[in-house]
Symmetry: C2
């Protein structure tokens, strides 16, 4: 279902839709991360992604708290965006050297982070607009972890660059 | 083709692949923006997206300069990520009130910006790694415009919030 589905005519409905979209996305990320961790070779990259897998499981729980705050059952809607992003990370070349594989995995993970950052940013703004202060706080905790995960991946890329320099 | 296609085994091949991916994405964005501009109602949102359409046309040209720098013909690869993101912005409800429509359009535009931000960030890092300083500079000019476009959309959302408060 698109963001502008014909079923969506109010801000409440739009908010619920994007909540369901990111709820689906977080679940898909929980499913996809173990394979990315397994294929990564750099110790720090593996550790960073493993930490983020635990965090992501917490993000799913936090979203369930937000559903509860607005009196809705947690439900997903298809999210072609995250499906597209994750499909780009799905087919690894066993021929690629380890640093190439790690670079590609880190890039895919950063694309995932940025999708989450944009969706949580939007939901926090709309929570405030709709007077949902507690939801805004819960979602902000998650957004901060997404930013930290993205920063960590950028840092790993810079360390690799410094080792070359 | 996934980021880890079996055809990709070196950093040079990975770099070219992501360049082709964002070249496709920028072209799809040039195609998608006019409809988003047409459906938007807020004057500032319309103006911001129109400015960004002109910038995006420039981004396509800059990517062609980078292809030339590495001695490759500009070519695209399918990018399921941007297809997914844009498909979420494709089906507008004619029943939705103007502010709901604008909120959804702005959210879709920010998802597009964040996809570009992550891909350009990756390409700039890899350009430095591969000794492609001029390419890094060209791509940085684009990245700065993507950040500015995202900031502008956040600012518009905050203004709307302040009008409510």
């Amino acid at each position: 279902m698109g963001l502008f589905s014909k079923d969506i005519t109010t801000m409440d409905e739009l908010y619920l839709h994007v909540l369901q979209d990111i709820y689906y996305a977080e679940q898909q990320i929980v499913s996809a991360l173990p394979s990315m961790i397994e294929r990564a070779t750099d110790v720090d990259l593996k550790a960073g992604l493993s930490t983020h897998l635990s965090e992501t499981e917490g993000h799913v729980t936090r979203l369930e708290m937000v559903f509860s705050l607005i009196g809705e059952e947690p439900q997903t809607v298809n999210c072609p965006a995250i499906d597209g992003i994750l499909s780009e990370a799905d087919d690894i070349s066993s021929e690629a050297e380890a640093p190439v594989r790690d670079a590609a995995i880190a890039a895919a993970a950063q694309a995932v982070e940025h999708y989450e950052i944009t969706r949580y940013g939007t939901l926090i703004s709309w929570s405030k607009e709709l007077g949902l202060g507690e939801a805004a706080e819960i979602l902000t905790s998650t957004l901060e972890e997404e930013y930290a995960a993205d920063d960590k991946l950028t840092e790993l890329a810079e360390q690799r660059l410094n080792r070359l320099g």
